[in-house]
């Protein structure tokens, strides 16, 4: 997949109901990489992701894809390049897995066209990739949280976009499924070169799975770069207000944050 889109935000301000949360952010999303936005609760990670995803209209500044503002694209054309998985999508009652994944084909279909062979193949490939083919004809309600999240990601994959944005794709999942989802996203990035941007809560998993980190504090971008350059004791102190020691992750050699609380500290 040719994936050379330049995707960037300039002097971005945005928020809700006159409350500005994002305070003038410039960023360029690295191509073909996995980027993770980190920061404390309420720092604006989700707002930033939603703004670059066109789910929130910025009050100032632009988000541009290949030099053109994203709100200038016809919505379906944009949806063939840029996919977003929101934090809590709604499951229609009683729908089967295959039909839900199939809805990801919407931007590729015209008003009157039926299902093409390409549509079926894309659905099959996405389901195969996320390992949910066996559930194809099951009702979504029968699946566990982790399986459901795989279905949603499969739907985003069926959309076949070069860029995929995910808002906390691992929240509410057991650690096993968190790792599973992040592994699958990494395979996606390695196999197709999909540019992935996500918000994650867990700083250590972020450090391990991200190629690039955007660190947010009070709506401003305070640091960006490779995890090993960005995640330091000082940064964690400044954005999370937490004392910690940063060591090397024995598995991945990436930074590992060991928090230091008031208790259980050996003297």
């Amino acid at each position: 997949m040719g994936n050379t889109h330049s995707f960037r935000a300039d002097k971005l301000f945005s928020g809700y109901d006159n409350k500005t949360i994002i305070q003038g952010i410039d960023l360029e999303i690295p191509k073909n990489k996995i980027s993770v936005i980190i920061g404390a609760n309420g720092c604006g990670k989700s707002t930033l992701l939603k703004t670059v995803a066109k789910l929130i209209k910025p009050s100032e500044g632009d988000v541009t894809l290949d030099g053109k503002a994203i709100n200038k694209y016809p919505p379906k054309q944009l949806a063939r390049i840029l996919g977003i998985l929101p934090q809590s999508p709604v499951v229609p009652e009683g729908i089967t897995v295959a039909d839900l994944v199939g809805r990801g084909r919407f931007p590729h279909q015209s008003l009157f066209s039926g299902w093409s062979k390409k549509d079926y193949e894309a659905v099959e490939e996405a389901m195969e990739f996320m390992n949910i083919t066996e559930f194809a004809n099951h009702d979504i309600d029968e699946l566990s949280g982790g399986q459901r999240q795989r279905v949603w990601i499969a739907m985003a994959l069926a959309q076949q976009t070069d860029i995929l944005l995910l808002d906390e794709p691992t929240t509410f999942l057991d650690i096993t499924y968190q790792v599973e989802i992040l592994d699958l996203l990494t395979s996606l990035n390695r196999k197709y070169g999909t540019t992935i941007v996500m918000v994650l809560h867990d700083i250590n998993l972020s450090a391990r799975y991200a190629d690039y980190i955007f660190a947010l504090h009070k709506g401003e971008l305070v640091a960006e770069g490779k995890p090993s350059d960005v995640i330091t004791t000082d940064l964690v102190k400044s954005i999370f207000d937490l004392n910690c020691v940063v060591i090397q992750d024995p598995i991945s050699d990436t930074p590992l944050v060991i928090p230091k609380g008031r208790y259980h500290v050996k003297s």
Partner: protein
Amino acid sequence: MKNQSVEVNFIMEGMRRRKRRWLFVTTLLVILAGVLCCAMLLLGNTIYPIHIVVRSLLGEEISGANFAVNTIRLPRMLAGVFAGFAFGVAGYVFQTMLRNPLANPNILGITSGSSVAAVFCITVLHSSNSVISIAAVIGGLLTVIAMYLLARGGAFSIGRIIIIGIGIQAMLDAVISFLLLKSAQQDIAGAIRWLGGSLNGSKMSELPPLILVVLLFTPVIIIFGKQLSILELGEQMASSLGVSTDRMRIILIVSSVFMIAIATATTGPIAFVSFLAGPIANRLVGVSSSNILPAGLVGVNLVLFADLIGQFAFEYRFPVGVITGLLGAPYLIYLLIRMNRKGEL
């Protein structure tokens, strides 16, 4: 590679099976509606054999049959078919778009908005039928606009819309009661009969606006059926899949309100049809694709069936709205209990 094609077939087979079920059930609903239409034409004080009915409909002079079939039963049947279809489709659109079976024109007060306008026209202005129709449409649209404006604020919120809609409905129903109390004795009977929802006394001359609106807006809604199924996934997901959510909502809501308001103006608010049709259609067909057509057909069947019951099952003739009300109320209670258990309320 071989393995992969087996899986494509597995997924495709499932999707096609659901498509076949859709076709099968829809066909059955059409046949059933056809049977009920025939019954509406054949049955009455005098039961005419089918060849007499056909000849009468084709314009042959048959004394007695002409009046009963062409003047009484045919308009009654057509009013039931088109109003039932309009209620079914509009209810389905609202329930699907707002992702909540409670979110339908009955409960949100849109029908009440049309009713207020119509009752005002009947009791105060003594208007003609065409004015009543137009007023009902305007009343319905104004109700939706009021609801939308009141529920606005930040992001689009379904919960807020439903609660405000219920509030508006209570208020409008109070206005209807007020109008009835204030109006002259001789107008009340007409207004009450109309409010109950009835096919009695449907006239051929009243039907063209209803038929026209149904034929005009049904294709619009069906064309955007795919968008409707995407809107069902939530605001953000729909936007992410390339649906212009605001524009699509306006198109679908305006089309549905036109249908429901004209149907309400013609037959009165036939209770619960717009509320029942969608969930019944979903249960029968499954939810793999959009069930606009099946929901409309379920609406037709419900209205015709309820009207036949109302006409012939009891010693006394009940208007259709009483029967659909009897069918709908228990379902509403069941739904509330179930949603409460699942924590959706």
